[in-house]
Symmetry: C2
């Protein structure tokens, strides 16, 4: 097994070699190259490469499908940024800002088909399994994005519904990324399904941590301004956990969210979270889903070395010291 940074390097090289910068029509392919440029963590394709080696094939054999997984991820970012009217992504203008909305829609569509082509470059013997896993995942991601937009229009969302939504929007793709690596290595149905669980649970832990970091993270390392979700009045694991309790705490949060001064709103909401014990609740849930991920990978038939690699990835992504 290689290190995460070795796998990441392979993915970066693969993306750099795609050559869309020279393809025509320019207005279709330049935004695709731009959307794929460095800046992301490449976790999803790394999962695919790791799983393929852990189950006994070479990462090289899974490289184009893994690149397709990253292409799919970046397609969802392009369209999500249009839907969320986001102007910045990884510190750069989003595609619909740098070009326009039509370009983001059409280049995104193209990325989805290119992604499907890339994941289809697998041997015939696994083509249908890979394709079914990929398409099923894509449908889950769209459903998750739809629920996310639906939730923004609702006063109260249960934590259960919220977890279902982030499971579809984030967990499904990490799950499919890991499963597709295992399928390419011709692992058993059971092991592939366990790897899908690993990725799904890791996705849940990761998203809850991301929600927590937005409020309680270290501004020096988080990469985004603290309190962004509160400023945008976004539903997160933190808000839904308070809201579903009802009563005085929920009312206090509701009132705090209506404070017009942004800085004061963040400060007030933070105090409510602390008094309601939300940081502990987050930590417990992050632990819970991280453990589920680890249990899934330990139930597979992969080597000890492989298991250690997937454990290390959880440690890398989930800061369990706090």
């Amino acid at each position: 097994m290689k290190s995460v940074s070795d796998y990441t390097y392979m993915v970066e090289e693969s993306i750099a070699g795609l050559g869309y910068g020279a393809a025509t029509p320019t207005n279709l392919y330049l935004p695709i190259e731009y959307g794929l440029q460095k800046g992301g963590k490449r976790i999803r394709p790394v999962l695919t490469l790791m799983a393929s080696e852990a189950f006994g094939t070479t990462a090289q054999k899974a490289l184009i499908p893994a690149t397709g997984i990253e292409m799919f991820h970046n397609f969802t970012l392009l369209h999500d940024d249009v839907m969320d009217r986001s102007d910045l992504r990884r510190g750069r203008p989003t595609v619909h800002k740098k070009w326009d909305e039509n370009t983001a829609i059409l280049s995104g569509d193209t990325m989805l088909t290119l992604a499907t082509q890339m994941v289809s470059t697998v041997p015939d013997v696994v083509l249908r399994r890979v394709l079914d896993t990929f398409n099923r995942m894509a449908i889950a991601v769209y459903e998750g994005q739809c629920l996310d937009m639906d939730f923004e229009q609702m006063d109260v969302v249960s934590a259960e519904s919220y977890l279902d939504m982030i499971g579809k929007k984030t967990g499904a793709l990490l799950g499919a990324a890991a499963a597709i690596g295992a399928i390419i290595a011709e692992a058993s149905e059971k092991d592939c399904s366990l790897m899908e669980q690993y990725g799904y649970m890791l996705g849940l832990a990761f998203q809850i941590q991301d929600d927590w970091l937005d409020m309680f993270g270290d501004p020096a390392t988080f990469g985004k301004p603290i309190g962004g979700d509160v400023l945008n009045r976004k539903k997160t694991f933190l808000t839904v956990s308070v809201m579903e309790r009802g009563g005085a705490e929920a009312q206090a949060l509701h009132d705090a969210m209506n404070i017009s001064d942004g800085e004061l709103r963040i400060k007030t909401v933070r105090k409510i979270y602390e008094q309601a014990g939300i940081p502990d609740l987050c930590r417990e849930n992050i632990e819970f889903y991280s453990h589920k991920a680890l249990r899934a990978v330990r139930s597979t038939g992969m080597s000890e070395e492989g298991q250690r690699s997937f454990e290390k990835l959880v440690e890398k992504l989930i800061d369990r010291r706090r």
Copy 2:
């Protein structure tokens, strides 16, 4: 072989049985059901069913993939309507008007993946060929849409470039629809490629006819107001044919397009087309590409009965009496 109306009926029944009206999240699936409702001619899936029977299998075996082809077509309509800011389609509000833009983007994405799933419901022995044909077609359609938008920003477009664009935007999908039917029937590579040519050439003839009808069609049967392309200053086979000649005719058309009164603009442009012999040029080109389509289908190894069916389809779609 069945009649075109029999095949159309099969497609309508298949679409009616999809059941997206009952699927959740409602905001994702209701727009899909709405987008697929009656009104279109269903030419593309009919081509798939016809080709499958002409090469010796049952239309039933090609029905779900054919429905996927129609799903793909309707996905492109959903996204094109957003990009073109069109408010009406087949006399009804477009999805982004009835719901909103985000819904049209996300439901469109979902339709693309659903379409891919449907065309993948073919036996293993033809899966890769079907999938490759489908994905290659999809890329051509996006490139065609991109060129179409690019052309709107250009003063002069050659007829050759225009034909390349409509070939990608319209011809590629009709071509893939016919080819996929042949592939499902396990026809030879050569015959599948000839069927792709048939559809492609039929698409060119059909689009040139559509451009012609917009100016010279019978208002009673055309279904859209005459002169819509002139009102929207859209590039068509008619405009590019005049423009690429340069000189006084091109200048006159350029000036006429700047007339602010819509009715006068249509009248003036019509006169320029007539004086420049554009109606004859259209007829010649429609004949030329119809003949190419017929020659392709006659070069295949299919039965006389099959050939007659594909000839009849050309006659049905292309009014050759005028």
